[in-house]
Amino acid sequence: MRPEDEIIRKRQRERARIMAILLGGFVVLLFFITMAKTGLNW
């Protein structure tokens, strides 16, 4: 694998990791929004 390919893979890994964290956070946020909207006021 060429050094450029290594850079591409590294950036893809980092972006995938951040995307996973953001999506996980979004799911948690949607849960709390739903709780608040249904009047449970977490």
Partner: protein, 303 residues
């Protein structure tokens, strides 16, 4: 596995740090702060999750504005020392990725705001994004020296949106907060543009010092500071806030006017001798933070 030819760095997948830089995080911090202050100054405090989501949406919308602004102005940014190292002019990112990111982030922020809080707040958020991108960046900024005056409205939206997200309606105080930021923007940006005017001239952006000269700009800074100070103090005599805010706003505005007066008295044309302009620019950022902090303090402190 086939290897890819990567002679152009922009053909690489963008580094996440560059994507983050596209959102202009430092500008975002002031926008988030004023939006939060607008929400906390409102008579109704929303549930934590909804309040947090509203502020998140304001931050995401500000990020979208930053990304779309950098996408549209990549060629201008390349001509200015202050902005030449940004991801697009430096060639570290593909312009189309920046455009997709900006549009996606903006659309997502409006949709989430509408679903989580109310659609009036979402409409105001959409209006602020469209105003900043279309009215300010595309239309006014490259055409007129009054770009900052009218464009300042885009940055004035956050406290109004924060308030509406909390209450569902517009009232007199958030409109005054809008007016304060609207009137604060010209002296703030013109102070900056005085000591970086060679950058703006090189990029062909018709900022006031480039078009009308430094003396006229200094006069305009002072004259805009007067209605700004009046708008900042106004909530107190109108009975919309208490004395904590009123006295603090009067003191802060007095200092602002003194610094604007020093700018008016300065005759220097060399940026190295523009200490009064640099002081006013630095103080103007503190001024807005302090003003909105005392606004919230006034709402919650018992006297």
């Amino acid at each position: 596995m086939p290897t890819l030819e990567m002679a152009n760095p922009a053909a690489l997948p963008a580094d996440w740090r560059d994507i983050f830089a596209l959102t202009k995080p430092r500008v975002m911090s002031l926008v988030v702060f004023t939006g939060l202050a607008g929400m906390l100054a409102a008579p109704a405090i929303p549930p934590l999750a909804l309040g947090f989501t509203a502020i998140l949406c304001i931050a995401l919308a500000a990020g979208a504005c930053g990304a779309l602004n950098q996408w549209y102005e990549a060629d201008l940014d390349a001509k200015m020392r202050r902005t030449a190292k940004r991801p697009l002019p430096a060639g570290r990112m593909d312009p189309q990725s920046a455009l997709h990111f900006g549009v996606g982030l903006g659309g997502f922020s409006v949709l989430l705001m509408g679903l989580a809080t109310n659609w009036l707040a979402a409409i105001l958020l959409a209006a602020s994004i469209l105003f900043y991108v279309l009215i300010y960046t595309v239309w006014l900024k490259p055409r007129t020296a009054q770009n900052i005056v009218i464009g300042g409205a885009a940055g004035a939206f956050p406290p109004l949106i924060g308030w509406v997200a909390a209450t569902g309606h517009v009232a007199a105080l958030p409109l005054l907060l809008f007016a304060i930021i609207f009137l604060w923007t010209p002296p703030h940006f013109w102070a900056l543009s005085l000591f970086v005017r060679s950058d703006y001239a090189a990029a062909g952006i018709p900022m006031l010092p480039v078009v009308a000269g430094v003396t006229n700009t200094r006069r305009q800074i002072f004259f805009y500071s007067l209605p700004m100070a009046a708008a900042a103090v106004a909530p107190w005599p109108l009975g919309l806030t208490g004395p904590i805010y009123g006295v603090s706003a009067a003191i802060l505005s007095f200092v602002f006017l003194v610094l604007a007066g020093r700018v008016l008295a300065n005759k220097a044309t060399d940026p190295a001798k523009m200490e009064p302009e640099k002081h006013l620019f630095a103080f103007s950022v503190f001024y807005l933070f302090a003003l909105f902090t005392v606004l919230v303090a006034d709402r919650f402190l018992p006297w």
